[in-house]
């Protein structure tokens, strides 16, 4: 059933009793051409693009819990493509372009809102860094504009311009950046993939991998063995665990990133703003809650909950940027498990095991990449080789030293 205004009217007429299921929940078949492990945004997007772009429809998405229940459902929903390096910017820009047409291609409202993303800077050297990044974005065909303090005072009057420990000197803005509704992205891809014949199988955890002569044969799961011609992993924080089932060690550490939401307040923050002198970024949801986050907790963790020291730093940074937040109440905080790579950039591509493909290492930038990641991963799975856009994200880049280190902090995952 296609969503439309007419449809809403029709359904209302029958007291909403006839809405079909958004996606079906079939029993797993004995084997598939492609099995995607991980029913988050990336896994579902991959399945959708496999079916829609490459005509591969004998596809299953296995999810150990409920779809969208991992980092897709625990992020701060920011969409942007403000990257510096050649390996990154074309990919993220393509992803942003897919976002811009996503609601039409999925026939599902993902509440995409291009409200602009502004990164503040507080020193000369930070400004140099942003000029470099802004220029790179423009050269790549993305949008960027440098804003000085006067312009910022008009757009973000609530910032602490005068008495700040690190005064705001300006900001780099990507007007096309913004936010989208995270859950809806997973549901939209699930619905669209389901309509193209993809099997979405929830509550199905992978417990082992069967490998024959160096090639993937299938997966042992809590719902029995499922044969697979190709397997794509899109399991975020659990990448190392799944890869270890195939005997692989990855350049990854899993870390917890916290996110927070405040009570609903009147419209205050109508863009996404990041603080440059501490760890804090914020946007305001349509319900009115401020959605914000900051830095990693700093030690390996698979716990989907955060720890206090980081939360304190985030509140302090928030108030340093916007002193008016002092009386705003924080309702809830939670944590997601990030697969942090050694250079802060993702891994999408082949593995040493034939037929086993990896999509992971998204650090804390996975949400905005969702459509792009699915698109290039589907290409890679279908063709058996990476697309131009994810060629730089190959797993073997690490040993060759072909790292993509946006922040330039070296192989220290908790600093990216």
């Amino acid at each position: 059933m296609k969503h439309s205004a007419l449809q809403i009217f029709r359904q209302a007429w029958s007291s909403h009793r006839k809405w079909p299921r958004t996606w079906s929940s079939p029993e797993p078949k004995p084997a598939y051409d492609v099995v995607i492990v991980g029913g988050g945004g990336h896994g579902l997007a991959t399945a959708f693009y496999l079916a829609s772009e490459h005509g591969i429809r004998n596809v299953a998405v296995l999810e150990k819990g409920w779809i969208g229940g991992g980092n897709t459902g625990r992020n701060t929903t920011i969409v942007r493509s403000n990257y510096l390096l050649d390996g990154n910017e074309p990919f993220y820009e393509w992803s942003l372009k897919l976002w811009e047409g996503l609601e039409q291609s999925l026939n599902y409202n993902v509440m995409m809102s291009q409200r602009g993303v502004i990164n503040l800077f507080h020193s000369d050297s930070q400004r140099d860094g942003f000029i470099r990044r802004g220029n790179a974005m423009l050269m790549h065909g993305a949008d960027a504009k440098l804003m000085d303090r006067d312009e910022l005072e008009k757009v973000l009057p609530y910032l602490d311009f005068d008495n700040a420990r690190f005064p705001v000197l300006g900001g780099l803005c990507q007007p096309r950046g913004g936010t989208a509704r995270h859950d809806a992205v997973a549901w939209g891809f699930a619905r669209a993939a389901d309509q193209l014949g993809v099997d979405i199988i929830q509550n199905c955890e992978v417990t082992g991998m069967r490998i024959k002569d160096g090639a993937i044969d299938g997966l042992d799961t809590t719902r029995g063995f499922i044969g697979a011609g190709k397997v794509g992993l899109a399991v975020a924080g659990n990448s190392s665990r799944l890869a270890s089932m195939a005997g692989l060690r990855l350049p990854l550490e899993s870390h917890v990133l916290q996110a927070f939401v405040s009570e609903s307040i009147k419209p205050l923050v109508d863009t996404v703003v990041t603080f440059g002198a501490g760890h804090f970024y914020v946007s305001q949801s349509d319900k009115g809650g401020l959605v914000f986050g900051g830095d990693l907790d700093g030690y390996n963790s698979y716990a989907q909950r955060g720890n206090l020291p980081t939360a304190e730093h985030i509140m302090e940074s928030g108030m340093a940027m916007m002193p008016c937040l002092g009386r705003v109440r924080v309702v809830r905080h939670w944590g997601g498990v990030m697969d942090m790579t050694m250079d802060g950039s993702p891994i999408i591509g082949l593995t040493p095991v034939t037929g086993l493909y990896l999509n992971g290492g998204w650090c804390y930038g996975g949400f905005k990449a969702t459509p792009g990641s699915g698109w290039v991963f589907a290409y890679t799975l279908a063709r058996g080789e990476p697309h131009r856009l994810n060629a730089a994200y190959r797993l073997d880049r690490f040993s060759a030293g072909r790292i993509i280190d946006e922040k330039g902090v070296g192989p220290q995952p908790n600093l990216h």
Binding site: R17, T22, G73, N135, H140, L146, K287, E312, V330, R332
Partner: protein, 821 residues
Amino acid sequence: MAALTAARSGARVIVADEQSEFGGGLLGTGIEVGGMVARKWVQKMVEALAKWPEVMMLSRSTVTGYHDHNFLVINERRTHHLSNPASLMSRERMWRVRAKQVVLATGAIERPLVFTDNDRPGVMLASAVSVYMKRYAAVPGRSLVVFTNNDSAYRVVHDAIDAGVVVKGVVDLRDDGVSAAADAARCAGVPVYLGHAVTAVKSNFRGVKRINIGRLSADGRSVVAHKGAIECDVLAMSGGWNPTVHLHAQSGGRPVFDETNACFFPGVSVQAERSTGACAGEFDLSLCLVRAVEAASEALRQVGIDPVTVDTPGTAQHSEAPLRALWSIPGDPVMPRGKKFVDYQNDTTEADIRLAAREGYRSIEHVKRYTALGFGTDQGKLGNVNGMAILADALGQSPGAIGTTTYRPNYTPVTFGAIAGRAVGEVLFDPIRRTPMHEWHVEKGAAFEDVGQWKRPWYYPLPGEDREKAVSRECLATRQSVGILDASTLGKIEITGRDAAELLDRIYTNAWKSLSVGRCRYGLMLGEDGMVMDDGVTSRLSEHRYLMTTTTGGAAHVLNWLERWLQTEWPELEVFLTSVTDRWSVTSIAGPKSRELLESLSEGIDLSPETLPFMSFCEGHVAGIAARVFRISFSGEVAYEINVSADQGLSLWRTVMEAGKPFGITPYGTDAMHVLRAEKGYVIVGQDTDGSVTPIDLGMDWIVSKKKDFIGKRSLSRADTARANRKQLVGLKTENSTVVLPEGAQLVNGFSSSRPVPMVGHVTSSYFSATLGYSIALALIKGGRARLGGTVYAPLLDGQLIKATITEPVFYDSDNVRQRD
């Protein structure tokens, strides 16, 4: 009772309670405890506890978070209730408590019933009605009807009669033969409608006016007969009680569903905590008190304290008949109008949940996210269990199988201000570090730059000067006569011990064992990934004693880095590291007149180039102050860095300024320093490097030892790191020599209006050189060393295209004559 048991046994105790006064649910009841009214008994208990010096009583204090390792966060609200709080009193206080043992006695929260029109003003929780009347002596209405599925709500009948409110009836979902409670209500003259439900609520602008009731079918799924209407202005409802298991769940426990009480009980404890009383599912008051003593005793034993015996008082509470879990109450069979609200904050209705289930959102997490159930500031404390049960019903499962959503901190919302505490504002957000000479810089009107936590003078504008003019003047003065720079912020690490030179050999890319005492050497250190991490000059103070300098921003990191290698990888090396950054102040004087100036001030120091050549140091007195004088240069001029004890730094600085007057001594800031070093092609780590630059990329092959191993060496020969076409450091001269390229500008090979355009590099440093009379820049360009003399273009944000020629990165005195003079 638990606190008293612990206190009497000799434990240190914190009692944290959310309300403004202690007593919890007892404050709103007429129950007798220990032969007296509950309220009185509570008062006696509080008094008894207050006598113990090791007991801290915190009211208005909510435990909002239960974190790992038994760490609890208590949010105390200190001034909200005061009309005139003391001006310096903090509004809120966060207690951060590491508890050895925790007893949770967080009680239970009454559950609404989900029936038609249950959102009308005047529909209240039964316990709330009681609290108004018993605790605050306020009646919420004149005529009351009670709607319940359990015995607890019958208390409100008697409370209301006491308060003079007319009780029109009790509508009880349970079938006949229920309980003593019903009989007691009947004795009080209140009609009890067993097996009935409220099917509609009629209201006007003042709230509830009338309710309709009907007879339920045996399975409770429909209303079989309309019973009639009752006029009333308050409807007290009770759907049973949800134990407040939030903190238990935050601590890692998993609540389990109890079919008898139709609610979630605490599961197995993961941390050192236990629940007692209503939050553990014990709803009988006498038993609650007994269990509390038991819980405290168990906690005490765990920490090795023998619990004393404490007697618990008797209560007059009767045992209760079981409730009837009817999660969704049928409405009027003839005219089913109106909504049944589940989440009052987000207007999530029973129909919304069923629709979600029909649409395939079947995990409770999906339903929550699709309907916004439990997203309000109460985080589902009222509605979530009802919602889960309705979903279970829609899916034909038991509520236990559906499970709960995750209970997360905060238990109740907490302000930013409370969590941030004092770490706010210009002064306290992050420490400010100032050099000993800071006061002088302020006097002279310096503009400051934040470098990490340091405040460094940026430039010293004279009246009428802008930044550009000031910097040009400072540069020229230094090149022509003498300039003075506060270099105190540079990181300084003293390295001592038998193997100090060996450590330097392993850390720096060049060789160190050959450095003789009294000499200085420049060193570059890499990360293990081969990328430039930090640089600085290290001097050999004596046989086994070195002074390493680092960049201002990298000081702490380098110290930790060295320490880590020593402790974790090379314990066999005997080396000791001490941070001495704050121990020394550094006054740097540079320029052709610097020697003459220093000579006029120094005693016992021979400054002649023969005795104190470039890259060496000596000790003596400058202006009567014991000093180390290092002859090193970051400007390309003859320069001396005078290190004196930090507390004498300002005094030395003033004396040097005074003595320098005849030479026209000019203070210069970081901006001029950057220009001077760029003219010489000296890189600044972090500005001309970005973590992806090797020493080879910088053209510094000369400093990379071929013979020995050092941290990062192996990485330099990896396929990509050894590639020829990497970005390399070069100089740029703009075609129009007055145009200064912006730092951060990207470079391309030619004009193109299409996008993307391949970028060949970027500008890392760029200034107008007053000394040279033209603009200069440093840039990292792909294969740049092979393109010397070639042309690149910098497209700017405003659409301009600047043409520049690639040059050697040294613009001034390329033979290094001046600094060696």
